[in-house]
């Protein structure tokens, strides 16, 4: 063992191993990242956007693939433009204002005893009541393309329903997100259906089997697949950029100069191998990432696949 160095150069071996394995790990990581991350491919970005809407009717979360979410965390954008104006409505809040000195309806002084003592039952009642309004909005606005009106009307209604249930004006962003996201989830289940689910530890049933709209329309275990069937470069990029909604871009903190390329992608939606919809989506390249241009959307067809 004392003759280690004569027979085997451990230091040289260590250096070679470190750099070779390091290079191999880097290669695997980069290739996996590129293949899984949707933002590097215009087709994958468009498909992810369409898939989010069709799989579970989730137009709400589909915005995470859009230019709206380029500089904002999606949730923060909603807070800034739709929640805080409601919570701080008596302070004439405008997006970007410092909230530290403002007293909004999220202050505990607005809490009624019902709010203080609720163990989730009344909050659940609010969510259940709001669901029918959520369905009404989806039908009325044909989905989420007009997100501005969707958020505004939904949160206004939420304030009214909460006041009726709890008897107070207390409102926080957490309450708003909880209600909205619960409704989005329930709407998704109404399309996909649910299975009987039992808690693996207690054996108690946590979900009851139901037939979803897709299963009614296309049969049980129907399989939805997506394919980007056509990609066209938008050649007159300058005209395209000037046609974009500039006030919306301003709220997203995006300048048209940031956009380096644009493509029109056609995504085909197939159910059990048969085409049920073809959706055109425009995507734009900012730095090295592709985003769906949500200022030019018309996705109402995707909300009526099961009709």
């Amino acid at each position: 063992m004392a003759k280690d160095k004569k027979s085997f150069n451990t230091k040289l071996y260590a250096i070679i191993v470190f750099f070779l394995v390091g290079a191999l790990l880097a290669t695997i990581t980069v290739s996996t990242y590129k293949s899984r991350y949707t933002g590097f491919s215009p087709e994958k970005t468009a498909v992810a956007f369409v898939q989010s809407i069709v799989d579970t009717g989730d137009g709400y979360n589909s915005y995470k693939n859009t230019i709206m979410s380029k500089n904002y965390k999606y949730g923060d954008y909603i807070r800034e433009y739709y929640m805080y104006p409601v919570i701080y409505r008596e302070c004439d809040y405008t997006p970007g204002d410092d909230r530290a000195s403002l007293k909004g309806f999220n202050d505990e002084s607005y809490m009624s005893d019902k709010t203080k003592n609720d163990n989730g039952v009344l909050s659940g009642k609010v969510i259940d009541t709001m669901y029918s309004y959520y369905e009404e909005l989806i039908a009325d606005l044909h989905g989420w393309d007009n997100y501005n009106e969707f958020f505004t009307r939904y949160f206004d209604e939420l304030c009214k329903v909460r006041k009726t249930t709890f008897g107070d004006d207390y409102m926080t962003d957490e309450i708003m997100f909880t209600a909205l996201e619960a409704n989005v989830l329930t709407y998704g289940k109404s399309l996909t259906g649910t299975e009987d689910v039992f808690d693996s530890n207690t054996g108690l049933q946590t979900s009851v089997k139901s037939i979803g709209a897709y299963e009614k329309a296309f049969g049980e275990n129907c399989k939805i697949t997506y394919e980007a069937i056509d990609t066209k470069d938008i050649e007159d990029l300058d005209s395209y950029k000037t046609s974009m909604n500039s006030s919306a871009l301003e709220t997203y903190k995006i300048s048209i100069d940031d956009i380096k390329a644009a493509k029109e992608i056609t995504v085909e939606v197939n159910v059990n191998g048969e085409s049920v919809a073809k959706q055109k989506v425009n995507v734009v390249l900012i730095k090295s990432t592709w985003y769906v241009d949500n200022t030019s959307l018309d996705t109402k067809l995707l909300y009526s696949i099961a009709d």
Partner: protein, 492 residues
Amino acid sequence: MSDKTNKKYMKKSEIATFGIGLFGVALMTGWMPDYTATFFADFAFKGKGFDADTMASAISMVFLVAGIVGAVCELVIGYLVDNTRTKLGKVKPWIGFGVIPLSIIAMLVFVAPNTNNQTVAIAWMFIIYSLYTAFSCAVESPSNCFGSLCSPNPSERSSAISIASFLRSVGQSGGMVVILVVGLVMKAVMGEQQFKNAEAQGLDLIISTAICALGLILFVMIFFTNNQERVPFTQEKVSLKDAVKVVFTHKNLLMVSLTKLCGFGRGVYGTVSLYIAIYLLGSKDLKLALLLPMGIGTAVGTLLVNIVLKKFSTKKTFILFCLYGASSLSILFLVSKGIGFNSTLIIPFLILNFFCGLQHGNTNVTPNIMIADCVDEIEFKTGKRQEGLAYAGYGLFSKVASAFTKALGPWLLYTWSGYLASTNANVAYAAQTDATLNKILMIYTIIPAIFVILQAVPIFFYDMVGEKKENITKALIERREKAAQTAVTTEA
């Protein structure tokens, strides 16, 4: 002890690099199980439309099969290590060469095939994770037994093992820091929402795995270049049958291994830590706050054991820490009952949690030192040095004990305590009766305390201490010197 037995063999840097090597191995092996489960369940085949129930059952089976593969590999690797004779030593080649396939396989666990066939997906999970388990055994098991070979001086060896054990226990949680830093860097580079989108594809897990794998290579290579095996291996080949027999028939080794089995219920507290945070302290966010003082306590305990070992034998140290551990858990139970389950309990509970954590330092360090002593005793009696199998035997008992813990914890919580799950979709955690809350507290305190006492029982029959240990150490040094002189004479 004589001058010969007091002689220092290791360079100071070697003690540090031994710990750095174990830190690297623990960084990888600590990261993998939990995050692999998350990756398989949530990200590997996202959007493929696979049946969720089938996938959930398959993932449980993957880990069960991996547990069996791991147990078998412990013995096989131990046997192979004991039959390894190279110029680098018997253990170092396994660690230094084994990290290459280990790091690559670990990385490949997070590269799921792009398949729409659920059977292929499940088969891939079984194969890749079993492969990972086998390769992690081939590195982790030898790295754990390096301590018994780093120095013929038991005192120097004990210090090295306790410092290395401390770094290993830190390394176990290193992955949590890696993923935190990776998340921060990704947010800064990509923006918050794009990071969320990437996170939804498990990409932060993939990058973190690459960093842990690179850390494994870096830290193990530092160890590999700087550390030497100083206890010569014996030349006799050992048959597999005789080798396995050693694990089960050598009294002292069996007693040390039995501590794991007798104390298997020590770990059930982990099953209820979330519920302790929710029901007893008032918020599930306090789960991390619960684990942190205990983790710090464990790290401090690991260093504390080294100090206690300078005053007492391994046997006394182990028993002393067990008594302390049971007492601290009992005090935590009594204080919690006295204060009641309300917000005033939070601070005293967290402080006492730190003191409860100190005992874990003992179980991290002392058995490893005892096994090194057992290896000496076996060599003294049989002329054969079998570190590989001695540590593999302990590892095997650890794995069986861990399986028992995983079965007992949920049974205690969901059956024995009378825990009520919420049936209201809008209520996450249902209200519990006082009797249930008391039982949850007992699962966190009194029941582990009983097992802490039980794990000390086999050690009462352990006798590789005091004069016996000194005589064996001295005899082995003399025997090795004689063998070295004979070798020199033969060469001349």
